[in-house]
Amino acid sequence: MKYVSIKGTSAIINVPGRYDLCNTREVVAEAEVAINNKGCNSIIVDFEGTTYLDSSVIRDLVKLRRKIKAENFGAKNASGIVLEMLKRAKLENWLTA
């Protein structure tokens, strides 16, 4: 998988560069494979290396969070524009570390 790696039972999403409408569906598809077929029961979005985030990504992450349950969803390493976008959407509480 291109954007999702598996660590134990966690699916780690990492999209270097621009994370937007052009790749969000591919990311969701990979995350769903990790959950449905690879036994993952949590999702961590690692924004290390992500330089941009658009609103379509936020909406797709909201849906993934709902699917995996809020307590099993987190994000980390957000900075710059990515952090700003999370704050604008009042989602900075996703950041776990």
Binding site: T51, D54, I58, R59, L91
Partner: protein, 353 residues
Amino acid sequence: MTPQGTIKILIISPIAETVQNWLFNAMEEFSVEFYSSLTGISGIDKLQSIKPALAIIDSELSDINGMSLTAIIKNTLIGSKTEIFLFNLNTMYPDIKADQICFKVQENNLRDFLTSQSRLFVEKIELERRHEDEIIKAKALQYEYLPEQIDTENLQVHYVFSPYGDLSGDGCDFWLSDNDKTKLYGFLFDCTGHDLTSFSQCSEFRMLLKKNLRLNEMGLYSSLSQVVESINQDLFMIDKDPPTAAAIVFCLDMEKRIFHFASAGINVILKKEISNLNYEEVITPSSPFGYEPDIKYEDESFELDGIDGIIISSDGFTEVMVSNSDDLPKENIAKHDDVTAIFINIPERSISR
């Protein structure tokens, strides 16, 4: 396409075989036939006989410049119907005819560009083929839903509605208050995607926004934040896994000269002062619809004194507007999303006391 529905792709490049291998691996699930030419001259000939849906052309050909080749092809009857991706560009001359271009980049970036763009193209063709009638109807319908533009002495309200593909995931509406025409009500929303699913979601959001904002106009809500909260709760009542969307509702009160709004995920409004040429951002943090059922939204407002322009838009618009910012990746310059925006112009005389 052939009658059987196989999509034909012609690659004209000295590295046609390599490109073909990239695409073949990336599009195994699709019915695609590949053809290749190593030179421009043989490429023109092959294109006219094969009539491919997509031609991928290398700018650096041994016999003819790829950009000129593209222009020649695009001016033929068959070529005009062929999508063309032109890659390996060193420079760009005026009147470029390619549908997509890629400058000279490292091989892995070229592979990513060609595979992702070709996949998108093939997916679009496949979708169109499966849902041709529905898409034609939906495409016509989305324009019927658009509001009448307003051009009065006191107020001008226009919009831009620019789908990325055939269908937009965005929508907007606005109208003057029924009784005295002194208030402008409106909303704008942004659902993910540009396909029939998005179109269906758009219809749902448009209906909810219009109904609840009309109820607000009739006095059934005491604030716009209540409108937004009610819609969000309705979404969770209708479906425990509701669709998500970003939206904003607004009411411009021309008598009190205040712009009220409540946002659910559309977090930037642009406003312009009379003395200023540029728009400034008004940022209002808020979560999108469908995040949590019991989420609280906030009422926001600003006075219209000294303001003669307001833009409410989907982020597809704000992204291209601020694309010159040093903070943003430069690829933002290219439009890559639906763009919808409402432009409110308040002539100076209408806001003077």
